[in-house]
Amino acid sequence: MNTLPLLSLLTLLPVVGAIVVLLAPRKSARGIAIGFSTLVLIFTGLLWHSYDAGAGTLQFVEHAAWIPSLAIEYHLAADGFSLLLLVLSAVVTLISLAASTQVTTRTSLYFALVLLLESGLFGTFTALNFFHWFLFWELSLIPAFFLIRLWGGQKRESAATQFFVYTMAGSVTLLLSFLALFLATGSFDFAVLTQMAQQGTLLPAIAAHFHGNPSNWLLLIFWGAFLGFAVKIPIVPFHTWLPDAYTEAPTAITILLTGALSKMGVYGLLRIVLPIFTQQIRWVQPLLLWLAVATIVCAAAAAFAQRDLKRILAYSSINHLGYCVLAIFAVAGSVNPVESSAALAGAALQLFNHGFTASVLFWLVALLEQRSDGKRKINDFGGLRTTTPMLATFFSIAAFSSLGLPGLNGFIGEFLIFKGSFALAAGPSSIAAIGLFITAAFFLTLLQKVFTGPAHERWSGMADLSSAEQIWIAPCVALMFVLGVAPQLVLGLVNGSVSLLVQQIR
């Protein structure tokens, strides 16, 4: 075992980067930030390499007392899911920094905040003690808020406030739920709580501390925790903050929001809620599944109705994460390990693919925006295929990946999710499949309106991607093909952890 606190160092590295960025001259801020996040990416790559994926257990464990009187410990570790998201966060942050070419005011602060956000993500994806986890969960919110508030578009003020207050409201219910669990169990440790839930000692513990029916209390506690994650992912009807926030945020920050921040919610649902509240999910499973279906179908339909490129992609993000939510709720209490594993592996894969593909899509939108003076309505464009062939090619590939074309990365994840959830929850899954068609419809409409058809005169002089931009984006697009053909690269990392989780929730 390693004695170096690798995960702490990983979390600390972006903070150091942020401090250096603030102290360094303004002109070099972006360069330093990219340098640090490249280092971080290499670091996560090394962690992936040294992780024993076969076992799928928690590794790189760091464990120390912190606040003994409250059973709060400094407890960090990573399993397959965590590592996947650590790598994803590192990739997405790098993409976001690469896309941040238009920052002109308070440059140093901007890049420092992006790096702090990265640190918050790392902390959230590795912490195993509620206190520690919640610290990073909340602290990632602050940089995100200011990045929207200070560098966002016209309506940034209300968008940022809405984003913040919604998420905080969810956080408060989440906090109250875990405090109730702490009162009953005396523990903030996710592993301990999971164990108690599986051994059936959680319910008696609640009964000992709360008057009334302990099942009802535990259900209330579950809803509190659920709400915190539902707002973050988001799940319909708690999604209304998202379109405004994604649209008003500078596009480079939208990349971070959709690519990494939204994953915090799904990760929490998968790693924290699912194992601890398996039983409670079972009780209200139909309702939860239909919420997931509503998320998938309504978000896709809403995306279809939008005309602003960023809003379309924002709703599309809700839709894509809805599939993960469907898989997570479908597997709770399932006695079919094969299908459960398929659904969970699919969800993990979908997390990675969506994070990656959506980041690239928003990046391409950012590049398009730079060339069109901020115009983003799909009706403003037309025939861009002839004026900007490279942009059109890359955008089409990413769009096809996002709508789940076989051969590209998006397909396998959704395929596995549906393979698993059809077997476990046939009704909701078949309705959810409608979402797939609507997604295809709106992406094709988008491609058609923007890139084909008669060339819009106004954009006849639009420059195609520069070679520097092509060098940045080409590898990302290439990776979509690679993962589409060899999803085993990602699946291999999570398979061990998936089977452990499936055992836990049976």
Binding site: S69, L139, V165, A180, F210, W217
Partner: protein
């Protein structure tokens, strides 16, 4: 050694008064040295007593005929609150560096107030505690009515009246206790051990608790707090919210709950769901939390927002006390310290850094000034203090509220859910005021702001004071065990036997 905090404060007050008004710098430095010394002694005492067990500092006969003693002692709770007093005093002096009107008198009154506060936290004799408590009230009136701003006479008078009504209730309780326990004198430990009969406690407790509670801003007797805070000069607001409100909460815990624990038992009948004084005060505390936050949400004056936020935050203290669990009481004491630091910081930003430069506190005026770019230091301090105040983890407020809420789940689960709503409103008002005051869109069309009006730069005392308080809240937020261990021991001491009743 800790007793010297009191003597040094009073001695320095007298000394500063002797400084001729012309030597303003000398008066300031004298006050600063006294405050820093007090802080140093308190911190040293805190570190030197890692268990937080009660230690007697001085015990002399004072008025033998009635059994009153000059008895000072410190346990973990007193130690934590003395350290808070030291912090608030030091920061208060630093943030009053720009006062030029009757400087010597200002600092003399300021230090006298501080001395009284130290006295209350250290007194182990009921009569002595009450005397120090009264000493602390008098300077407040003059600080507000002479150096205050908006509606200062009204604010000062209202505060004085409320304080004296509270004191009268406390005094009545103290005297009844003295009479009814004939011969025991005023020593707190003796009175706690030989408790009054159940039915007498039932009648004295609400008087004393409410009497102290008024100063802690208990709803609906909180209205002195916002007006007093707003009228007071910056340093006095910092002390009022930072330590004076803590005197009330401390009195509630040490005197009301410590001496009359049986009064927290059920009455034996109930009105709606309320069947004890404990329920009554828990309900009032929760109403205070939600009401204070909701009213703060709609204020037009920046300082009123902070004033009402104090009412809301002190509601947490009172709610924590009423949970009657170890963890809830731990949280309540920690919340006293935490709120003392944060309220000081917030008032410093609003009253000193902003108001002294912009000469307005109306949010709609501040909105057009673009303060975020003109006063970046003040902005960063306010954002951090706001984050801490809304209870984000990593800062002191979170650990305190976390414990209060755990205690709340134990004793009042439904009220705890209401408190959760109050926290969300707290987030909303903090964020609203931050956005409007600092990140408003500069109004280009109005001439008075268009001429690139420059504010005087932030001075070193302001920076030092802000850094002191910010590092304190971060330290407590990340390493709360430093205080929690000591507070827990104090709550486990024999003095609180009656209150514990085997509950923890």
């Amino acid at each position: 050694m800790l007793a010297w905090t009191i003597y040094i404060s009073f001695a320095a007050a007298a000394l500063v008064l002797l400084v001729p008004p012309r030597f303003m710098t000398l008066a300031r430095w004298l006050a600063l040295v006294a405050a820093v010394t007090g802080l140093g002694i308190s911190l040293a005492a805190l570190i030197a007593n890692p268990t937080g067990a009660p230690v007697t500092l001085a015990q002399l006969r004072w008025i033998p005929s009635i059994g009153a003693q000059y008895w000072l002692s410190a346990d973990g709770i007193s130690l934590a609150l003395c350290a808070l007093t030291g912090l608030a005093a030091t920061a208060g002096v630093l943030f009053s560096w720009n006062i030029e009107y009757r400087v010597n008198e200002f600092f003399a009154l300021f230090l006298a107030l501080i001395g009284g506060v130290y006295g209350v936290f250290l007194a182990n004799d009921l009569l002595l505690l009450f005397v120090f408590y009264e000493i602390a009230i008098v300077p407040k009136y003059f600080l507000i009515s002479i150096w205050g701003s908006t509606n200062r006479e009204y604010g000062a008078m209202k505060l004085a009246i409320y304080s004296f009504v509270g004191s009268a209730m406390v005094l009545f309780g103290i005297l009844s206790t003295y009479m009814l326990t004939s011969g025991l004198g005023f020593g707190l430990p003796e009175l706690a051990q030989n408790s009054l009969p159940h039915h007498l406690q039932m009648w004295i407790f609400p008087l004393v608790f409410l009497g102290f509670g008024i100063l802690a801003g208990i709803w609906p007797f909180h209205t002195w707090a916002p007006t007093g805070h707003v009228a007071a000069p910056t340093a006095a607001s910092m002390l009022l919210a930072g330590v004076v409100m803590k005197l009330g909460a401390y009195g509630c815990l040490r005197v009301a709950m410590g001496l009359y624990p049986a009064a927290l038992d059920p009455w034996g009948f109930h009105i709606f769901w309320i069947d004890s004084w404990r329920d009554v005060f828990a309900l009032l505390a929760v109403i205070g939390i939600v009401y204070g936050a909701a009213v703060a949400l709609v204020q037009r004056d920046f300082k009123f927002v902070i004033g009402y936020s104090s009412v809301s935050h002190m509601g947490f203290v009172l709610f924590g006390l009423m949970t009657l669990t170890r963890i809830g009481l731990d949280g309540a004491v920690l919340q006293m310290v935490s709120h003392g630091i944060l309220a000081g910081l917030l008032f410093a930003v609003v009253g000193r850094m902003i108001y002294d430069r912009t000469h307005t506190r109306i949010l709609s005026d501040l909105e057009g000034m673009g303060l975020a770019s003109k006063l970046p230091f003040a902005t960063v301090v306010f954002v951090l203090a706001g984050m801490a105040s809304m209870g984000l983890p990593g800062f002191s407020g979170f650990v305190a509220e976390l414990q209060i809420l755990v205690g709340g789940w134990n004793s009042y689960p439904w009220l705890t859910v209401v408190v959760g709503a109050g926290i969300v409103v707290g987030v909303a008002y903090t964020w609203r005021v931050m956005q409007r005051a600092f990140f408003g869109v500069p109004v280009e069309s109005i001439d008075q702001y268009h001429d690139d009006h420059e504010f005087s730069p932030i001075t070193w005392p302001e920076k030092a004071g802000s850094l002191l308080l910010l590092s304190a809240t971060l330290f407590i937020g990340l390493f709360p065990s430093f205080l929690l261990n000591r507070i827990a021991t104090a709550l486990a001491s024999p003095f609180f036997d009656g209150l514990r009743q085997g509950r923890w």
